[in-house]
């Protein structure tokens, strides 16, 4: 009998189905790997087990008995311990306090039992002795630690639950080699104690080093479970890709010739900064260059760095043959660089203000205007909005009155009044509807045809495969593979994204 079993669980957020049919069986004494591409539903599955998301249908069985996981506390009471990918530490408390936070030892009913707390914490701190690095101790406050050390605290916290079922959602993303090895040793010991463990990672080498079985999830559905010993990375990738692969719809072939003969607009060499190392590429006039790979492998940081909104520690950016060292977005905009963020609520939309004010700021800046005359700009604004088939009542309606997709269209339209040379798209379709996406990509292709250079990072692989002339696959902060022409397949994309960096 499996220790934990999920059968046919589903979850929809409004019209978006996050999980269609999730099945998962975990035995005692195994490390069970869960893998799937961006947005395939892994995290939703984990959240259901953790109790932070209630499934719409399906069953969760623990030791063969159906259980209702009504919240994080309930899951802990049931004996399920979870490592959270989003760090959930109390920044100003010590390592020891954080480790014991979910279950504080208490004396006389109210006082924290310091002695017990320190003893218990020491047990877990000792596990990572001599790999934790400088400055790591039980009494160090968490905010004084490095990212990898904080991740270790998070692991210790999960281990301290001493739960029979442990779930690790990307526990190794910030760890170095030695720390990962130690963590795996600990997992092997836990296997001997017959604990059931779920391990989520995007690193094939790690998956094959520690996993016993692997379950692949694709588009919200569990597509198969195999024993690690009986499979290989290529087979796992094929499961993740599914039937839909084969060639990307080909854009007309002359593109190849065109990119080699056309003027280079943007040239980046040796660019390094927080989250990316030694990035180099060129974008020609009329080209759509794709950035692919898993989330957070440096794609976004590179785009923001070029736009002057992120740090650069080394390297050079040339725009039309001249050095572009934008210290602020303002510099970059003046030089003809545009940037559209996928996080429109944070980086794009000026909430509560009329649509016209959301469309005009770039025009004012590039033309150094001081007097705002919305009536004189009406036609230009309307034309820009029309290019994207934006639906709105009047230009003076607040932008909040629009749907998410139309809000993003307004944000993009602000770049269309005065055309930039380079358009940087940072996962621009996140959370917008299908028809808005179609409008957006039609426009992007048109802009490229008219001579704009475009860099497109998308977390949706289909968008990249359908629209990019070339794809650079990011892995661990650098470009590990370039896909051109017929190589632009989902299989190749996944393969490059999931292999060890």
């Amino acid at each position: 009998m499996p220790k934990l079993k999920l059968s046919g669980v589903s979850k929809a957020y409004g019209a978006t189905v996050a999980l269609r049919r999730g099945d998962l069986e975990i035995e005692s004494g195994e490390v069970h790997v869960l893998i799937g591409s961006n947005g395939s539903g892994k995290s939703t599955l984990c959240k259901i087990v953790a109790g932070s998301v209630r499934p719409d249908s399906g069953e969760v069985l623990l030791d063969g008995k159906p259980v209702a996981v009504s919240g994080p506390q309930a899951s802990r009471a049931l004996g399920i311990g979870i490592f959270y990918q989003e760090l959930s530490l109390a920044a100003h408390r010590t390592v020891a306090e954080n480790i014991c936070l979910p279950d504080m030892p208490v004396s006389a009913g109210v006082f924290v039992d310091k002695v017990t707390l320190e003893e218990r914490a020491a047990r877990y701190v000792r596990l990572f002795e001599d790999v934790a690095g400088e400055g790591f101790s039980a009494d160090a406050p968490v905010n004084s630690l490095r990212a990898d050390q904080r991740q270790l605290v998070e692991i210790m916290k999960a281990l301290a639950s001493e739960a029979p079922v442990l779930i690790f959602d990307e526990p190794t993303s910030a760890l170095d080699r030695a720390q990962v090895d130690r963590f795996f040793e600990i997992l092997r010991d836990l296997k001997k104690e017959a604990r059931a463990m779920v391990f989520i990672s995007h690193r094939m080498d790690e998956i094959f080093a520690i996993g016993d079985r692997v379950t692949v999830i694709r588009d919200g559905e569990t597509v198969g479970t195999s024993r690690i010993a009986e499979t290989d990375p290529a087979a796992v990738v094929r499961l993740m890709v599914g039937e839909q692969d084969e060639l990307a719809p080909q854009t007309p072939e002359p593109e190849q010739a065109r990119t080699t003969t056309r003027e280079v607009l943007l040239s980046v060499s040796g660019l390094s900064g927080p989250g990316f190392v030694n990035i180099g590429f060129e974008v020609a006039r009329g080209e759509i260059l794709g950035f692919g790979g898993l989330h957070g492998q440096g794609q976004s940081s590179v785009l923001r760095a070029i736009f002057g909104a992120g740090l650069v520690s080394a390297g050079e950016i040339m725009l039309k043959g001249e050095r572009l060292a934008a210290r602020t977005p303002r510099d970059a905009i003046r030089r003809g660089v545009a940037y559209v963020s996928g996080d429109r609520g944070r980086d794009g939309v000026i909430q509560g203000r009329p649509i016209i004010e959301n469309v005009t700021p770039i025009h004012y800046l590039r033309n150094r205007l001081t007097i705002a005359r919305p009536s004189a700009l009406r036609d230009k604004a309307l034309r820009a909005l029309e290019a994207l088939h934006t639906k709105f009542a009047t230009l003076s309606h607040p932008i909040n009155s629009l749907s998410g997709g139309n809000q993003q269209k307004v944000v993009i339209a602000r770049w269309l009044i005065d055309r930039p040379d380079i358009l940087l798209l940072d996962d621009p379709t996140k959370g917008i509807d299908l028809s808005a996406k179609a409008d957006l990509f039609a426009l992007i292709r048109k802009l490229a045809e008219e001579g704009m250079g475009i860099v497109l990072y998308s977390s949706e692989d289909a968008e990249l495969l359908n629209n990019a002339d070339r794809i650079l696959v990011f892995n661990g902060g650098s470009v590990t593979r370039e896909l051109t022409g017929a190589d632009r397949t989902r299989y190749n994309l996944y393969h490059a994204a999931y292999e060890a960096a």
């Binding site: 736009f307 602020t328 303002r330 963020s341 944070r346 794009g348 203000r353 001081t370 007097i371 705002a372």
Partner: protein, 320 residues
């Protein structure tokens, strides 16, 4: 049902403010006949203009968001009144220099506030409160030994005597400031940028708005408006005495919030603030009429701000 109607009303702060003004005028007239006479209303408008000019700067700083607030306005008003009084010493010939010096003083302290808030990242509340302390200390130092000075006759006339269509110059000045504010906020790129940084600073930054420069300019304008109010206040009272400006801090904030600009910034405007200033002055006058002393008035003002927060303080939720 009545809850919905109340909400609907609260959404139009200008309507509420004007309705309350009318109600208070009737109330005042009932309590003390002659309260709403033309002469009396004119006097109230002069006092409201003084408050309204201070509130113009306060309004700009609050619109710019990120907990923008200027607690130092009262100190700048006092300092400006003293500087102007000493430079004029009762002579018209001293007026141009006095205006120049006061505006420069206001701009200087506003600049310090702006630099502290943007470059040193000190929260505006703390920065301007600290600046208020500095200004109060400075006032004590200046007033030792030096006579406090007198207003030039022309200045007093400008503030208190009818100038055009029966209205004194200061009312016309206030109307002009109202028009200039409306022009700045709605017809200049700078104005649009104020709203942009007030409603989403990060998005404004990504759209090329020089966020720090705009914010520094807002604090400087606040200092300049407070300085202008200080000069006018000197004209109103004839001579400057210590801490005349102190009474402006809280009311200037209340006038802004009453006028429909939430403390979170990003929306609202100056027209409502002008109505808010008139409303507050009438309220103050009624409290005086019914013999509530200064401490009582302060309590009423404090309570008014807190009640207003209850209705208008929810602007923040939208930004989440």
């Amino acid at each position: 049902m009545s809850g919905n109607m109340l909400l609907e009303m609260v959404r139009k702060p200008l309507v509420v403010a004007i309705a309350l003004i009318v109600v208070l005028l009737f109330l005042g007239e009932a309590l003390s006949p002659g309260f709403a006479s033309v002469q009396q209303i004119l006097r109230l408008l002069i006092v409201a203009a003084l408050l309204g000019i201070v509130a113009a700067g306060q309004n700009l700083v609050i619109l710019g968001g990120r907990e923008g607030i200027d607690l130092s306005v009262g100190g700048v008003v006092s300092l400006s009144a003293i500087v102007a009084g000493n430079l004029m010493s009762g002579m018209d010939s001293g007026i141009p220099l006095a205006i120049l010096a006061c505006v420069a003083t206001g701009a200087f302290f506003g600049l310090l506030n702006g630099l502290g808030v943007t470059l040193l990242r000190i929260p505006p509340l703390v920065m301007t409160l600290g600046m208020l302390g500095v200004l109060q200390g400075l006032l004590v130092v200046i007033r030792q030994g030096i006579p406090s000075g007198r207003a030039a006759p022309a200045l007093s006339e400008f503030v208190t005597r009818p100038f055009l269509l029966g209205l004194p110059g200061i009312i016309w000045l206030w109307i002009a400031i109202g028009l200039v504010m409306a022009f700045i906020l709605h017809r200049t790129v700078f104005g649009h940028r104020i709203y942009a940084i007030g409603s989403n600073e990060q998005a404004a930054y990504m759209a090329g708005v020089p966020v720090k420069r705009v914010r520094i300019a807002l604090f400087m304008l606040s200092g300049i408006f407070a300085a202008i109010a200080g000069i006018c206040l000197l004209g109103y009272s004839g001579s400057s005495f210590a801490n005349v400006g102190e009474q402006y801090m809280l009311p200037s904030i209340i006038a802004v919030v009453f006028g429909g600009t939430p403390l979170a910034g990003g929306k609202g405007g100056y027209t409502g603030t002008m109505a808010g200033a008139v409303l507050l002055v009438i309220l103050q006058s009624i409290l005086t009429t019914v013999n509530i002393d200064e401490s009582g008035r302060q309590m009423v003002f404090g309570a008014t701000l807190l009640v207003l927060m209850l209705f208008y303080g929810r602007g923040r939720a939208m930004r989440a």
